[in-house]
């Protein structure tokens, strides 16, 4: 993100933490925000990984969020069942979905990163990673979804290069 965006976000956070509107505090906040944003820019310039995100992917985030209530129920039941004396707790299952990882270019890295985050959003599923060599998205599910596995594992449908509209 740009320097200004980070600085504004940090200043907003500063405002949230202080309770006054006194001028000295606000100036300190501006200075702290500027310092933080500069640090963030320096890190970004090291180009450790360049990630390109398409903003139009973000509205799809409602899909993993819609899974949340059901997952909370499933996990609660699983925990309570496992707590009974003599019960055999479930181990969950490792599952893999084919994922077109592409090269190391920013768009593909962005897709992989977003898939990793979105798949892990709802508690029943978390993403271990995008295995580029084997072209697979590796996840772990506690209560395996047998009906629509693709929906819960890759809710944003990041696995194909050009996601369907």
């Amino acid at each position: 993100m740009s320097w200004t965006a980070v600085a504004v976000a940090l200043f907003a956070f500063w405002l949230l933490l202080i309770d006054t509107r006194e001028a000295p505090q606000l100036f300190l906040g501006v200075a702290a925000a500027a310092l933080g944003a500069t640090g963030s820019e320096l890190v970004r310039h090291q180009r450790i990984a360049r990630v390109g995100l398409r903003w139009r992917w973000l509205p799809r985030l409602w899909r993993p969020l819609a899974n949340v209530p059901g997952d909370l129920v499933r996990l609660s039941v699983a925990a309570l069942r496992a707590a009974r004396p003599g019960a055999r707790p479930p181990a969950g299952r490792l599952r893999a979905l084919e994922f077109d990882a592409g090269g190391g270019n920013p768009a593909d890295l962005g897709r992989a990163a977003l898939a990793e985050l979105a798949g892990s959003l709802s508690p029943n599923t978390y993403v271990i990673g995008v295995d580029a060599k084997r072209r697979l998205l590796l996840v772990h599910q506690l209560v395996p979804d047998e009906e629509r596995p693709r929906r819960t594992i890759d809710p944003l449908e990041m696995r194909r290069r050009e996601p369907p509209r």
Partner: protein, 109 residues
């Protein structure tokens, strides 16, 4: 009892309940990767508690900060789970990718 206090009570019961369930889950599961699902449950419990505070306190600094704390946990939670899973696999298997001979279910078309 007003509508507000009923909502607050429901949210509190939900929030505390989810936290308790999360603790039971972490303690009762035998497999590390199964356990790792439960901190995420606790995050949603915290969200419910923060919502209860927001409803009870109305628009105020305390509500803002409580919701911000819940937002931090909700946003960082999935990332933390992801990183912990990778670290666990690296520690145990050397590399997080699928090991030769490992049983992984492949989802076909």
């Amino acid at each position: 009892m007003s509508v507000g206090s009923i909502v607050v009570a429901i949210l509190l019961v939900l929030g505390v309940g989810l936290q308790v369930v999360a603790c039971i889950g972490v303690a009762a599961m035998r497999d590390t990767y199964a356990r790792l699902h439960y901190p995420g449950v606790a995050a949603f419990g915290l969200a419910a508690i923060a919502a209860a505070i927001a409803v009870d306190a109305g628009p105020s600094m305390i509500a803002d900060k409580a919701l911000a704390a819940a937002a931090v946990v909700l946003v960082t939670g999935p990332l933390l789970t992801h990183v912990t899973a990778r670290s666990a696999r690296r520690r145990r298997l050397g590399d997080w990718t699928i090991r030769p001979g490992e049983q992984v279910e492949r989802i076909e078309r």
